[in-house]
């Protein structure tokens, strides 16, 4: 790649903290963002959540995030929670990248891609409750515009004056990684010069209720750092958002901004699979290794996995590690993040952002290895979509 795409800005609103430094500090200290979630939680008491959540036990719950510290727009008061997280993470990433968005040409040439599986769940439920209770004429005009998946992208564009391509994408559990892939597509196609790639999802009672009905939620009694066996195939739900600023290395250099890491390859593709099921782990692992093998041949130092406690996703990480270890002749380091932040469908952007922090600091908390040089985020979702994202430290 003659002019690689680099990461020049990061933003986080996550159970592990808000902002890159806070997240890194908590991660380095071994703190977890997973805690017991109950209806007595202070955030629920403040009325941020209009809908009572079902009892979910442990969860990666965003705390201590004050949207007013990050969002200046007068639209803040009408923004839903998911949009607030995504807009704040995008705002941090743009500030971190030191982009000057007062310049019209920069506004026009800066794109935004948001990955989210569900978008604004809580207000959708609230809106539909009213429609079901009082009839179709009771729809609330103030809520309705927030119910489209791209509401957060619209709010972020207004907040930051992002006038370039603005795309929201959804691909189940791979929504975050697909957002990164789409951002690279926009850059490759010359449609813009830099892109904010963000991903975020919030808790919603309908989704959590469905997980609970299907007995996919981890029992409250599971230990904090429980692994597959202890959790018996169940997940810890989470919520959060993260954002990356991506641009060409030459552009970052030209404006004198140091990059954090290189995006070496994103292998968006899929394998044969039912549209409603997770892919077969061994096949998916082989396919992903084949896709990342097309990148330059530096070995992978670490896999930042997508394991979430469910049987098929954990099996995919295991198969991927085995396949990758055999391919490169040495086992990579491995981290999973469900016991750190919980799991949400667009978590891939947050995992990629954590990988960038690790590459920046040449160290990943939890991996005993002298240097982290290359990390892969093996994004995957139901229906067989595979999106391995390979990130490298700067040369």
């Amino acid at each position: 790649m003659t002019d690689p795409i680099v990461v020049t800005g990061l933003g986080f609103v996550s159970p592990l903290g808000t902002g890159a430094e806070e997240v890194w500090n908590h991660w380095s200290r071994g703190s977890s963002g997973v805690r017991h979630l109950g209806n007595g939680d202070p955030r629920l008491a403040r009325g941020v959540d209009p809908i009572s959540l079902p009892p979910v036990g442990k969860a990666g719950f965003v705390r201590g995030f004050d949207p007013k510290q990050h969002v200046r727009s007068p639209h803040l008061r009408r923004m839903d929670w998911c949009s607030r997280m995504i807009v704040a993470s995008a705002t941090q990433a743009v500030a971190d990248a030191r982009l000057d968005l007062n310049d019209e040409e920069t506004q026009i040439r800066t794109g935004l891609v948001v990955g989210s599986c569900f978008g604004n769940q809580r207000e959708t439920q609230r809106y539909m409750d009213r429609v079901f209770d009082r009839g179709p004429a009771a729809g609330q005009p103030i809520l309705f515009p927030n119910l489209v998946l791209n509401a957060s992208g619209g709010y972020a564009a207004i907040e930051l004056s992002l006038r370039g391509p603005n795309v929201s994408v959804s691909e189940h559990e791979a929504s975050g990684e697909v957002a990164i892939a789409t951002a690279l597509d926009l850059l490759d196609g010359g449609l813009c010069d830099r892109v904010v790639a963000a991903g975020g999802d919030e808790f919603g009672a309908v989704y959590l209720g469905a997980l609970r009905e299907r007995r996919l939620l981890a029992p409250e009694t599971a230990p904090d750092r429980a692994r597959d066996d202890a959790r018996r195939g169940r997940l810890i739900p989470g919520e959060g958002a993260a954002a990356l600023v991506l641009e060409r290395a030459s552009d970052a250099r030209a404006r004198g901004h140091a990059a954090y890491a290189v995006v070496s390859r994103v292998g968006l593709g899929s394998i044969e699979c039912s549209p409603y099921l997770a892919p077969e782990p061994e096949r998916a692992a082989r396919e992903m290794v084949e896709r990342i093998a097309q990148a330059p041949s530096r070995p992978i130092s670490a896999v930042f996995g997508g394991a979430n406690g469910t049987v098929p996703r954990d099996a995919l990480d295991r198969a991927f590690l085995a396949s990758l270890g055999a391919h490169q002749g040495a086992p990579p380091g491995y981290l999973r993040f469900d016991d750190l932040v919980g799991d949400w469908p667009s978590r891939g952007v947050l995992i990629a952002a954590l990988a960038v922090l690790a590459l920046r600091n040449r160290h990943a908390p939890g991996i005993e290895r002298s240097t982290i040089e290359r990390v892969v985020v093996p994004g995957s979702g139901r229906s067989g979509i595979l999106v391995p994202v390979v990130l490298d430290m700067l040369a």
């Binding site: 639209h75 179709p136 005009p141 564009a157 959804s170 597509d185 490759d188």
Partner: protein, 408 residues
């Protein structure tokens, strides 16, 4: 993978299902006429609303491409999309089994996906009855589900994306497919969009007072809002060399795409139409063409006072002194605003117009708004040889996309 200047995207198959009927033949026949396809909505209750009509699809033939599990779980949006995809694939002569499946991409845009089924799930869940029987439907509810159903059903294992940018979703899905063809990431892309009517959007647009009580009248002096619709459309995009090598008939070229964001307001367009202008200028630049090259504009033209006026300002800004020359029409007066499906349906309508040598009229337009001052085509269709046309799509969030299409 950067853009390869030697690769051009052609359209080798089109499919559509709209209130005009299942198939592009029904759509083309309706595009020549001046009668709308609206009727009373019966998918859900409209009790208490001052608007009861929409461009509702009367019959959705079941696609033979469905696997049994997908057919059982499919949402209405999935079924609409699968019909359109099957028609487009048949028209292209492509059998995915004979191609490298990893070189086939899928990009289906939608605004609300399986929301109609999610509403049913939630309504059941609110009641004391057990919700178990609805579980399979919930899996079909996310906006990414239709792309997955299409990709799995046709065996496409290349790049895949489900853009969801409200009413520009499927125009952006075509733009994404164009990018994959040009960059060499795919040789064939099934691109399109789908949206079924649902309670949420119907009551929402009603609450915003954006719906006209009578059939919509885009660009009319007395326009009072939009009429909702539903449907799906699909285009088989293909690398030109790939298409020629297999002897395929080329229907049209996708010459360019332009994307922009107003960054002004969650629902209202920028007053000067700057985002719409930027998208169209971007599409022309991407195509390497000037505004003089455009013979017809398929407008977004929703029929709301503000949107039509802003789009007209954008067209004036792009075409300058020539603004009154290219004929302009909106097909939403015929089919309704199909939201996430609109961009793809209107791209298909534009290709039919390019190939058929006609400009579809704006159904419902009687007294053109003097503030718009464009060559607004009223019924019936105008016979005109067309070489190139632009198709505009704008969505909530200020998400805009324009496409430039060329006759083969």
């Amino acid at each position: 993978m950067a853009r390869d200047a030697t690769r051009r995207a052609v359209v080798t198959g089109i499919g559509a299902i709209t209130a005009a009927g299942p198939g592009t033949a029904d759509l083309e026949a309706a595009l020549h006429g001046s009668t709308h396809c609206f009727r009373d909505v019966d998918l859900f209750s409209t009790e208490g609303l001052r608007v009861r009509i929409a461009g509702q699809v009367e019959r959705i033939p079941t696609s033979s491409l469905f696997g049994s599990a997908a057919a059982r779980r499919a949402s209405r949006s999935d079924r609409l999309a699968m019909f359109a995809v099957e028609q487009a694939l048949r028209g292209s002569g492509i059998d995915p089994g004979e191609l490298d499946r990893r070189r086939i991409g899928t990009s289906i845009g939608t605004s609300t996906g399986g929301m109609l089924e999610t509403e049913a799930y939630y309504e059941t869940r609110r009641s004391p009855a057990p919700a178990g029987r609805w579980r399979p439907r919930l899996l079909a509810a996310t906006v990414g589900a239709t792309t997955d159903v299409v990709a799995a059903s046709i065996g496409a294992f290349g790049p895949r994306v489900a853009p969801s940018t409200a009413c520009s979703s499927s125009a952006i899905s075509i733009a994404m497919g164009l990018g994959w063809i040009r960059s060499g990431r795919a040789d064939v892309v099934v691109a399109g969009g789908t949206d079924a009517l649902c309670r949420m959007t119907y009551s929402g647009f009603h609450a915003l007072q954006a719906m006209a009580p009578e059939p919509c009248r885009p660009f009319d002096r007395d326009r009072a809002g939009l009429t909702l619709g539903e449907g799906a459309a699909a285009l088989v995009l293909e690398d030109e060399e790939h298409a020629r090598a297999r002897g395929a008939s080329v229907l049209a070229f996708v010459r360019g795409a332009g994307l922009s964001c107003d960054a002004t307001h969650p629902t209202a367009p920028h007053e000067d139409g700057r985002g719409a202008r930027q998208a169209l200028e971007g599409a022309l630049a991407d195509a390497g063409l000037g505004p003089d090259a455009i013979d017809y504009v398929n407008a977004h033209g929703t029929g709301t006072p503000q949107n039509d006026a802003c789009e007209a300002r954008a067209l004036h800004a792009v075409f300058g002194d020539r603004a009154a020359e290219p004929p302009v029409s909106s097909t939403k007066g015929l089919l309704g605003h199909t939201l996430g499906a609109a961009g793809a349906i209107e791209a298909v309508a534009t290709i039919l117009a390019l190939r058929g040598g006609f400009v579809p009229p704006t159904v419902g337009l009687e007294n053109p708004d003097p503030e718009c001052a464009l060559d607004l085509v009223r019924g019936p269709a105008r016979a005109l040889r067309l070489e190139r046309a632009a198709s505009n799509s704008y969505g909530f969030g200020g998400n805009n996309c324009s496409l430039v299409l060329e006759r083969a």
